[in-house]
Subunit: 247 residues, 2 copies
């Protein structure tokens, strides 16, 4: 884990009256750094388990707007790739024991009738962000918010592990269809960066020549100057993603 | 429109205490008949507009279980292809005027604080059923439940038209990936039936030889006897869908 911010505790709860009852948003926030696919996780005070950096929906917000706000609150980023992928509605998806431990760890006691302890359905969103631009921020109940390698995911609360893998499945499926992988890269990148990203998401090696031919045939990359390096004659070209030309 | 059932009015409302607040299920139920893709719609008493045959989630049910129950209540069918495709959460997705008209048409008056008049988020499911087996059943507020051609969709209430097209988009996208089209056909079918189904869903003609080669190469069809017809020498083969062989 790296890039962890820590802040003091804020007021943890509203009275829930301005929120949609029983509905939460759980964003799976993907980043890519040094050849690893990463996701942003919170760690709650007093617990070993981690959690997706979720939130609730205000009555005054569209659900999509709530997801964008939650993401902004966690990462400081707006206008990044964000899409719904699945809604999680199992009756027993939040176990009471975990909830109580979580609250006790924060010195909070709530009656069983409290809105926060009712059944919640959660809408999963996945976000793709340029790792170098995100600024992780903990929420009031958690003491850290940071990036974790997807390859060595720690234990997560509730059904959050299933959420992460469902989000990854969607990311894989949409990689070609929607060309969304570029949202995980900085504005300029080398062909090696791009291939490494695809290989990491798909979890398998790709043949270099085929990959390059396929990607270049899509007409979505603009070739820029060469990347500066020690041996200039071997420097790779930098590329930038451009929207596909309309035929 | 065809295959409309009509029944008397039942008790329209519970007090909502046994339901998840603010959450509904709206199934887009696809059938295929005589070369047309069809969906199942309700018509509410006193309204010209139609609606998806939705329902609510009991506290005792997983959301998926609620979707299966709603489907069973409308079609009499269990164990059919049913999958979540999107959750609709715009703040103003249900307009108050339509709601009041709907209730007044049934002679029902509700205070503005009634649970049914609060904001609802709706989870969209799509179902694929063998048209010949469904037995459409109206709900307590509606006076008919029947099949409509997708090509000539009547006006729908709220955001239900957007739901239908989002479901169709998902159906198109999953047609090859998940081989789900067969759920819309009877157990046995001709290659012409199958091609017609694909052409209807995709909204474009397919080249016959290519289509057959591609489908047969998947190893998912079992060829049965020839279909009986007048000119036996021209009778087409019948096929049956089998699960893909594991390599």
């Amino acid at each position: 884990m790296s890039m962890t911010n820590e802040t003091g505790m804020k007021r943890p709860f509203t009275d829930g009256q301005d929120l949609l009852p029983g509905l939460s948003i759980d964003p799976v926030i993907f980043g890519f750094h040094e050849g690893q696919l990463k996701i942003l996780l919170l760690r709650f005070r007093g617990m070993d388990a981690f959690a997706l950096p979720g939130g609730f929906v205000h009555l005054s917000e569209d659900v999509d707007e709530a997801a964008a706000r939650v993401l902004y609150e966690r990462t400081g980023l707006r206008e990044i790739y964000l899409d719904q992928f699945y809604t999680f509605g199992k009756r027993d998806r939040r176990d009471a024991g975990t909830q109580q431990t979580l609250l006790q760890g924060n010195g909070v006691e709530l009656p069983n009738t409290h809105w926060l302890l009712q059944r919640f359905v959660s809408i999963g969103y996945y976000a793709l962000i340029d790792f170098t631009k995100a600024n992780p921020t903990p929420d009031p109940l958690s003491d850290s918010c940071g990036w974790h390698d997807l390859a060595t995911l720690p234990p997560l609360i509730f059904d959050h592990t299933a959420m992460v893998y469902k989000a990854l499945e969607t990311l894989r499926k949409n990689l070609d269809d929607k060309l969304i992988g570029f949202a995980l890269l900085p504005e300029t990148f080398t062909m090696t960066d791009l291939q490494q990203l695809y290989e990491t998401i798909l979890g398998k090696p790709l043949q270099r020549t085929n990959f390059q031919r396929k990607i270049l045939s899509l007409g979505i990359l603009e070739r820029l100057e060469k990347k500066m390096s020690g041996g200039a004659h071997k420097a790779p070209y930098l590329y930038r993603f451009i929207s596909p030309a309309t035929p």
